[in-house]
């Protein structure tokens, strides 16, 4: 294999040889190479196959616009699909694979598609696979398997990712000459500057071009400038960092590839870091993309962008061919041709489509290097399949509508092309900026901006080096000044001045046949979209560029049309017979280049995916081997198995302990809110449905709150601690929402109320001591207040000292048994819990978890908001009319009178017992009146809670049933998911102790 590496020059380190594998072949490159430059150095012409026709494809560009060299990099779970070889830095032992072509890029069986190119036109899939409809499933399998680039790893990503927030006065995107000038100018004012560039080193076009700044070689200027920036404390320089998204409020997202160039990142190294940058001012200096030319077979390997050739020659010291032809419609490419010639390549001819050719500087330069120039000529076609062999050249009058018959062949293995330049207006557009068509340079340039950003350099249609430096420096000073920094006089730069002739647009190249019948003239290489496809779309009635894009897939690939879109718009404009400005661009959306999922996720994976909240007694529960249940962000013990018990046995034992003796539960997860201020009663009267003001100090009450729709939102016990002081509890999951709800009303609707709300959920831990022996237990550990019924009746609260600890003691019950809830400062909670457990041994104190909690309350018919209710249940449906005060107004009250809420056939809350006395139906099971009715059988309700009840000796269920309150005593049928039916007796939801005597003892 030929080495195309030059003996000297470039920025590669010839002393550091990297071995790498490409499609199984072992090749060598140097440190400083990209995968693309290393492949070119090894004379690898075919790197991929195209999407639709499986045509062999080679490297076209040297940057983010590369459509063909899309690679799968790395092995196993660290593998990355669809990376651009042109932006992938080579490292030792890299393993790269083409993402297209089977069995190989050199022999691809699907290349047969190319023979049917005319059939596989735009819209082929839409038209062909629509019918018969039933066969779509079959088609889909084959179509899906042939789509996509690369494969995702099967296992977890082994690499580390991170997020980073950053703030600055001036963010400069792009470190070419204009970006560097902007960053230097801004930094000299003392402004905080962040400079990002996607390449491994700063310099941009200066790294590829042979020029001078202030009479010294540009490289010297570059070194000096980069040194100044990196030594400046207020400047953050980020290489290998792509600003990929520009969002509202001058918020820019960028991804830094910290370790991609190292292969396997060592140890704790972050592989990629997502920067979230808030900038006061943004300078966009992203440069421009060179446009291809749409001649026949312009996708053959060996056809490359002229500027890319210049980059490979000057920066990577690679000569991508031996004998080249340049085809151009503008002056800039002449310098690429000269660079190729100077490096030792043969340049057969410059084919310039313009009748008058290039300006003096370009022409003199070419002539000095002995390069023949043919003005008013075209390359209409190339010969060669896996590599260009000949260019077909013809004279041209300048009339695009004519066909061209007489061509001559010029032998070459490299065809350099340049169709002019398109500014990278991506971020400007994402920021909401408009683009305007520049009639002189024939490109879209940034117009009006909506945010604090400005574009400079080639990205703003400023083409000369002098202009880039000057405008860049101006932008740096202006933005720093806008941030309030004092600006010194501007710096001037001295650069060589070129005399140029203007570009003449050439959106498609005339061929030997009409553009609809000639060989493929590709616009978008990655998606195989051709000139003929765009014209077909117009014939089929598409007018909008957005529709044409979707019909032809123009600009859909990983390069997002960076290469082909403007040519496509030119072709569309011609076919529609409108000016290109009227066609406009498609929408620019983030991301500018693909971003890995890893960078998006950052560190928020695994154990820190979401906060896990644990109670103060959590360690004790874990020591007991209690399985945990996730409730919101909380972990709560589910049940406490003993001696290999299953959940059923454990829950039955725990329930019986609570009913017969003594049980204890960690209820700390309840939401708790302290309410104080002189209007506390007034606020709570409006929020809760019962008469809050009638509660005596020291009393507790069960309260519910409704949404404005009159439907149940949350519930809990509240206690009146003082005239204007309350303690509210909420459901575990509802705590934050309830506090927000209260604050919302207080702050936005009733600011005249003087009420202070404080969350005390974390401060207090709550221990429920439940069962007939609970009073004895508290007495045993020592309580300074009388616990007797007459002194401490049901539904009251007292400040007390328990076992030497200060506590709030509530006589409340969520089980129907005699019970106390102990509120204790969380730092003491574990000590209190252990004290109660030790003292409770003589009563066989039994800890229980959420499952037993649910069974105990279900036996009493207590509702759990969010389980028995679902946001469509009113308090009347729950038979909670006794809680609805008629003496006052409260949120949701009026809605309770709405026609739909007073219907008698609403789903209402009732209890159920299986007639067979043994089946525990699944929660969620649908209820029907008559299972024999034809499908779809009308459903009349569903089961919301269902348990085996140890103390009752049979299963119980709660649920919502149409007209349920009137149907007590009837039977309905539970239709189980396995197709069987269970007859259910409709009963009162209160199964146990219907007179509620036990909690009052």
């Amino acid at each position: 294999m030929t080495s195309r590496r030059l003996e000297s020059g470039g920025f590669v380190d010839r002393g550091k040889v990297f071995e790498f594998k490409f499609d199984g072949r072992t090749l060598k490159g140097f440190a400083g190479d990209t995968l693309a430059s290393a492949l070119l150095a090894n004379d690898v012409a075919v790197v991929s196959r195209s999407f639709k026709y499986h045509r062999p494809r080679g490297i076209v560009s040297a940057g983010a616009d590369e459509p063909n060299a899309i690679m799968q990099i790395g092995k196993d779970d660290a593998t990355l699909p669809n990376l651009r070889a042109t932006q992938t830095e080579l490292y030792n032992n890299m393993v790269a694979r083409s993402t297209k072509g089977w069995p190989s890029v050199n022999f691809d069986v699907s290349a047969i598609n190319a023979l049917f190119g005319r059939v596989f036109s735009a819209g082929f899939y839409y038209k062909t696979f629509m019918r018969p409809k039933r066969l779509w499933r079959c088609y889909e399998r084959f179509i899906r398997s042939s789509a996509g680039w690369g494969s995702a790893p099967a296992g977890n990503d082994p690499d580390e990712y991170a997020h980073r927030n950053a703030h600055c006065d001036v963010l400069v995107v792009g470190a070419g000459p204009s970006g560097l000038a902007a960053a230097v100018a801004a930094s000299r004012t003392g402004a905080r500057v962040i400079l990002v560039d996607e390449q491994n080193e700063f310099g941009g076009s200066l790294l590829s071009e042979d020029t001078t700044i202030d009479s010294v070689p540009a490289m010297q200027w570059l070194e000096k400038t980069v040194a100044e920036l990196s030594n400046c404390e207020t400047v953050q320089c980020l290489t290998r960092t792509t600003a990929f998204g520009y969002y509202d409020d001058n918020f820019v997202a960028a991804v830094e590839r910290c370790a991609d160039h190292l292969g396997k990142p060592p140890g704790q190294t972050v592989r990629e870091r997502l920067w979230r940058i808030c900038a006061r001012e943004v300078v966009l200096a992203q440069g421009a993309f060179e446009r291809p030319l749409a001649f026949c077979n312009n996708d053959r390997p060996g056809v490359m962008m002229a500027s890319a050739v210049q980059t490979y020659v000057n920066r990577y010291a690679v000569l991508p061919g031996e004998r080249a032809v340049l085809f151009t419609n503008n002056d800039s490419a002449y310098f690429a041709a000269v660079a190729f010639k100077k490096a030792g390549g043969l340049l057969a001819a410059i084919i310039d489509s313009r009748q008058s050719g290039a300006g003096v500087t370009a022409v003199t330069n070419a002539v000095d290097h002995g390069i023949p120039i043919m003005n008013g000529h075209l390359v209409t076609d190339v010969v060669g399949k896996k590599r260009v062999r000949k260019a077909q050249v013809a004279q041209w009058s300048g009339d695009t509508s004519q066909t061209i018959k007489n061509t001559v062949s010029i032998e070459c293995d490299l065809l350099m092309m340049s169709g002019g330049w398109s500014p990278a207006v991506h971020l400007h557009s994402q920021a909401g900026g408009k683009n305007i068509w520049d009639e002189t340079h024939h490109c879209f340039v940034p117009g009006e901006t909506l945010q604090q950003n400005r574009s400079v350099g080639a990205g703003a249609g400023q083409w000369s080096l002098m202009e880039c430096l000057q405008r860049g420096g101006d932008a740096g000073r202006t933005t720093a000044e806008a941030c309030g920094f004092v600006v010194q006089a501007g710096q001037t730069y001295e650069t060589p001045q070129d005399q140029e002739n203007p570009i003449e647009p050439l959106w498609r190249v005339p061929a030997s046949r009409s553009p609809d019948r000639c060989a493929k003239q590709f616009l978008d290489f990655q998606n195989d979209t051709s000139v003929a496809d765009v014209r077909l779309a117009v014939r089929e009635g598409y007018r909008s560029i957005e529709h044409v894009k979707r019909y032809t897939a123009l600009g859909f690939g990983t390069d997002q049309g960076k290469l082909g879109n403007i040519n496509g718009m030119g072709v569309l404009a011609e076919a529609l017979e409108v000016p290109i400005a009227q066609v406009g661009t498609t929408t620019f959306r983030p991301a500018y280049t693909p971003v890995t999922f890893g960078a998006g996720a950052g560190e928020d994976i695994g154990e820190i995916y979401d906060p896990v909240r644990k109670t103060a007694m959590h360690e004790w529960h874990e020591m007991q081997g209690a399985p945990m249940e996730v409730v919101g962000q909380w972990l709560r013990p589910w049940y406490f198995p003993q001696y290999g018990e299953d959940i059923h046995a454990a829950v039955a034992r725990e329930c019986m302990a609570a009913r017969n003796s003594l049980a204890i539960m960690d209820a700390s997860t309840l939401g708790k809110i302290d309410v104080q201020g002189r209007d506390s009663v007034a606020l709570l009267e409006r929020i809760y449905t019962h008469d809050v003001g009638r509660m005596a100090v020291g009393r507790c009450a069960y309260g519910i709150m409704l949404g404005e729709d009159g439907l149940l939102m949350d519930d809990g016990v509240m206690a009146r601690l003082g005239e204007q002081r309350f303690y509210l509890t909420t459901t575990t999951g509802g705590a934050a929402a309830v506090l927000t709800w209260l604050e919302r009303w207080l702050q936005t609707e009733w600011p005249e109320l003087d009420v202070h709300l404080t969350s005390t959920t974390d401060h207090w831990s709550t221990i429920a001591v439940v069962g007939p022996k609970s009073r004895e237990l508290l007495q045993k550990v020592g309580c300074n207040v009388s616990l007797q019924r007459e002194n401490f009746p049901f539904m009251t609260v007292k400040d007390a000292e328990l076992g030497g600890f200060p506590v709030q003691l509530f006589r409340v019950s969520f089980s129907g048994e005699l019970a106390f809830e102990v509120n204790i400062g969380s730092n003491y909670a574990m000590a209190m819990w252990e004290l109660l457990i030790d003292a409770g041994q003589e009563f066989q104190i039994t800890p229980y978890g959420t499952e037993t909690l649910h069974v105990l309350r279900a036996e009493k018919g207590f509702v759990i908001v969010g389980q028995d209710t679902d946001g469509s249940v009113s308090p009347v449906d729950l038979k909670m009319n006794w809680l609805l005060s008629k003496n006052k107004d409260y949120l949701g009250k009026r809605s309770l009178q709405r026609a739909d809420l007073v219907r008698t056939d609403r789903k209402q809350f009732v209890g159920f017992v299986p007639v067979d006395g043994k089946t525990v139906v699944a929660e969620g099971t649908q209820l029907v009146n008559d299972p024999l009715l034809p499908v779809p059988t009308p459903m009349c309700g569903h089961i919301t809670s269902s348990y085996a009840s140890a103390c009752l000796g049979h299963p119980i269920a709660l649920g919502l049933l149409q007209s349920g309150h009137a149907r007590i005593g009837e039977q309905v049928v539970a239709a189980q998911s396995d197709g069987t039916y269970v007859d259910m007796q409709v009963v009162s939801p209160v199964f146990y102790d219907p007179k509620s005597e036990r909690q009052n003892v």
Binding site: H163, N165, V612, K614, A616, D674, A831
Partner: protein
Amino acid sequence: MSDSLKRHHCLEPFSEDSATIGSSASAEPAIRVTFDGHREFYNLRGDPADAAFTDAVKSFTGQSIPDKANTLSYRECTTCWLGPDEWLVVYPSFEAGRFEKFSTELDSTDATAVDVSHGYIVLCLSGDSALDLLAKGCTLDLHLSSFNVGDCVQTGIARTAAIIANIAEGDHYEVIVRRTFAEYLAIWMRHAGAEFGIGFD
């Protein structure tokens, strides 16, 4: 049993298995984290224009409440501004009966105080990379030019709410977080700090 034996802060289980992550054991890590789980915290609500309230607080704490947004005052206790009518008073150690006295002091005013001492813990951060760590999880600009000694802010760090207080020159920050989110935050710090080197005391 003495009070200190009965008190357990929420990061005791975390401390037991924490160590220096991300840098060699001998080198001083770029971030040090210590836990202070036994301070007292009072949530204070009142109208700063009400002299009765401000005087009462001043006579008890010996310092004025900070009236400038996102600042703190510091003497015997730290008082952090949380909102136009809300502050967090932090005493460095527990003293039985102090809150009751404070509360009584406010009785004659419209202001209120709630003892939330058991609801918070402080993670004290120091070291060259302390700000880098915070910048990974906090979207605010904590650069000295906008967040100086004497500043505090209620914000989010990673996926939890917290108060960050800049209490001393030279990269010392206190992160005040709710008890049940503290373990998450400590684990987050252990992950996020690994690239700099982080040690827990």
